[in-house]
Symmetry: C2
Subunit: 475 residues, 2 copies
């Protein structure tokens, strides 16, 4: 499906050469920062800085114009003011540039006639010359494989390579998603921020990601669209082959007004969007955190069976209240918390005793008091229960350090990683923030690297589980 | 109101002496850990370890029995198995102990006749002898002023001194609240975890906190009550004098069943609790994070005026999508996002220009590109707008470091701290997690110490603002 997009967009995500227009010897100028970022990220193609002043930036010659570049140019990053962009397109046509990405802002999002007309003229001129436009007013393509960084940063971090592809009208949110990915172990195949979407729009990029063999999960942030029917049809086809997790920004009046000023998106009904996403088979989320949570879970989880969750807490004591609130959080999100079988409960009593623990689901293993062997036995017994489809372990770095030790924390996590690697059912871990942030980050990092999805609260884990299940119910 | 509670509970929060029963020379035994924690925290009174085996723990003599302690005993921590507790109460009566706190579990929460009867017999015997019971099955009193730590940890951290008093049926959640407080700058006057609440119950402790001059804000975690009418009447009186932020655990079937096994709390309707809390004038929350968020905001905020919020983002670029999603998040929680006056908008255009920023509410100052002087001017202009009642600044450590520098981050936060200290309207800051956690924690810590409330997401900030406003509408 949409296989022709792969060839069509090859030069977008894997350009052999990028020209950045609007560069000077001034290092902090945004065009210069784009060049520095591409070079520091070791972008795999050629990088041509362009600026009328000449000189060098980061050791590279600045070409006086696009025309003066000797080689072919696949992709142009435009950082010059809007008044010069039409003229620039003449040079792009001459050089047979394939994709022109306008970092430059000041088009339809400004809300005046001049901005609208300029945006329209740019698109007309580009189409006449076989050029496709990304943006305007965006940070364009991102691809970890070609080492194409996400946005203009002097020392760009490429982020983690992986199976999540994203599209985003907002550059800032795209950028932040990649940073969250670095922190939480979400790896990306590629992404694109497309701002006003004057030419290439969400539908085009979604079609590419659906065809892209490197992309297994698709994340999308929309503010608006100029062709709702086409977007709907594309989403429906895309969502039939890969999980499509979609967030619509500007669903409230205040958000919609900001979206109008941000990407020139017209105000449309939140209910219409929600209905459209639902009917297309997309999974709707409502914040960047939720978007990250859901793609994280999709990426890390295997052997999905359903939402019958068993919860285990109190790894080093203090698990009673956690059991209560975890039960509430999971129920509120519509998860099932099945009763454990009589045999399972009896085995738990044998392991934990009856005093000071809770030998029903949610299970509080406080009386195991920091013994990894008890955690192992409990999880094994629970996983073997036919009523259980997924295990959530709540561990708390503060408690592990306060009532245990760094060694106990390590041993507990060794055990969790070993259990999860062998487990026939998904294992999800919740590690809430508190006063032991170094240890918490260490735990999150270790578990993430072992492909265990980690969430900061039970509420967010439960919500992500419910969302992911929306997909697996039908696939 | 309730002033007699102050004298009555003086020995609970400020005991002149604590005996811990169930201590041995084995350092990891829980009774021994209690003693080590009290000593390492520099508890201000005497600490008497008690255990039949004798010897010493952490340099202190272990007394063979309560009777053999020479001095008076205000407060006893009981860590012996349940079969010996009735006998122990005879010794407590002999020594005229005022408060007996049962860390020991195995009472009504077990759900068998033996547990119920034992709990009943303990209460009867205590009342006959003028002894008050805390628990059973809890971690008892906590008081930063008397250096009485929250729970048994070998090297107890006392947490921050401050104006929030709490009651919690769960020890684990009480403990975690204190740890969150250390991280987020929430200071506590005192707190108590009271488990099954067999004798002293939520109502008693709430009455004390209402009278306590050190406590300005009250946080409460309930799982159940044996006397709903008394609790309601107490809450109503308490909430009329201080903000009372209440979380009921076990509102769902799964949570309620866990609560039954945790603190022996009977299942009761979630709707009844919500109605009761509302009618009492308490502010209901639904998770530990929310509880912490709301008391944090109450503690840090001054000059409350209402929920007409102005949002400022894009401190170092990338603020467009943030403006959209921030507008959505605040609207979803019922906050107002007033239009800025024409004069304010004109001033913003003068400061920021019209291209690449958003000069309406929410304001995106991306074109200020990391200049503290622009942040200052923008916030000053916004605060001066009569439509604005509160300012939320969204700053992102990833963006500040990636597109700016640690120096720019510092300068931005210097400016924020200065602005907030002089501001006639509350200033709230959102600093979302990402890949720059060291810088984020540093920022949170600096702002917290300057009494600025910091939240990890716009959603949580907005929810806390809405909750706090529930109180100020009527007070």
């Amino acid at each position: 499906m949409f296989e022709k997009r792969l060839e069509e967009f090859e030069a977008l995500f894997y350009p052999k050469s990028i020209a950045v227009v609007g560069v000077s010897t001034e290092e902090r100028k945004v065009g210069s920062v784009w060049v520095r970022g591409l070079l520091s990220a070791n972008f795999k193609g050629n990088v041509y800085p362009v600026g009328s002043g000449g000189g060098t930036i980061a050791g590279s010659k600045i070409f006086p114009s696009l025309r003066s570049i000797p080689g072919e140019i696949d992709y142009v990053v435009v950082c010059i003011p809007r008044r010069s962009v039409l003229e620039l397109l003449d040079d792009c046509a001459l050089k047979k540039v394939k994709f022109v990405h306008f970092f430059t802002a000041g088009f339809s999002e400004i809300g005046d006639a001049e901005g609208y007309e300029l945006e329209r003229d740019v698109v007309i001129k580009a189409r006449r010359n076989g050029i496709r436009i990304i943006g305007p007013n965006c940070i364009g393509a991102y691809c970890s494989e070609s080492r194409f960084p996400c946005g203009p940063a002097p020392t760009a971090r490429i982020g983690l390579d992986g199976s999540v592809g994203f599209i985003s009208q907002s550059g800032g949110l795209a950028d932040k998603l990649v940073e969250i990915g670095i922190a939480r172990g979400i790896g990306f195949s590629k992404g694109v921020s497309f701002g006003n979407g004057a030419d290439l729009d969400a539908a085009d990029f979604l079609q590419y990601l659906a065809a892209d063999p490197k992309t297994k999960i698709i994340a999308a942030y929309f503010e608006g669209t100029r062709d709702g029917r086409r977007l709907f049809d594309s989403m429906k086809m895309v969502a039939s082959v890969k999980p499509l997790v979609a967030w619509k920004g500007g669903k409230t009046e205040a958000g919609a007004e900001a979206a109008m000023s941000h990407t020139g998106s017209l105000i449309s009904s939140a209910a219409i969007w929600s209905t459209m996403l639902k009917q297309a088979g997309a999974i709707e989320v409502n914040s960047l955190e939720e978007l990250a949570d859901v793609v994280l879970l999709f990426q890390k989880v295997r052997n999905w069976q359903g939402i019958g969750v068993a919860i285990v807490g109190g790894l080093c004591g203090g698990g009673g209240g956690i059991s209560v609130s975890a039960g509430d959080a999971c129920s509120e999100e519509g998860l099932n918390i099945p009763a454990l079988s009589k045999a399972t409960r009896q085995e738990l009593v044998n392991i934990l005793g009856r005093v000071g623990s809770i030998v029903r689901n949610p299970v509080d293993i406080s009386q195991g008091y920091g013994q990894p062997s008890i955690l192992r036995k409990v999880v094994e017994v629970i996983v073997a229960d036919a009523n259980v489809q997924l295990v959530i372990v709540q561990e708390d770095a503060d408690i592990l350090l306060k009532y245990g030790s760094p060694q106990i924390s390590d041993a507990m996590n060794d055990t969790l990683i070993d259990l999860a690697s062998k487990c026939s059912k998904p294992v999800v871990v919740v590690v809430p923030p508190g006063s032991s942030e170094m240890e918490r980050l260490k735990i999150e990092n270790r578990l993430s690297q072992a492909s265990i999805p980690v969430f900061p609260t039970m509420e967010r884990a439960a919500k992500a589980i419910a969302r992911v299940n929306q997909y697996f119910r039908f696939h």
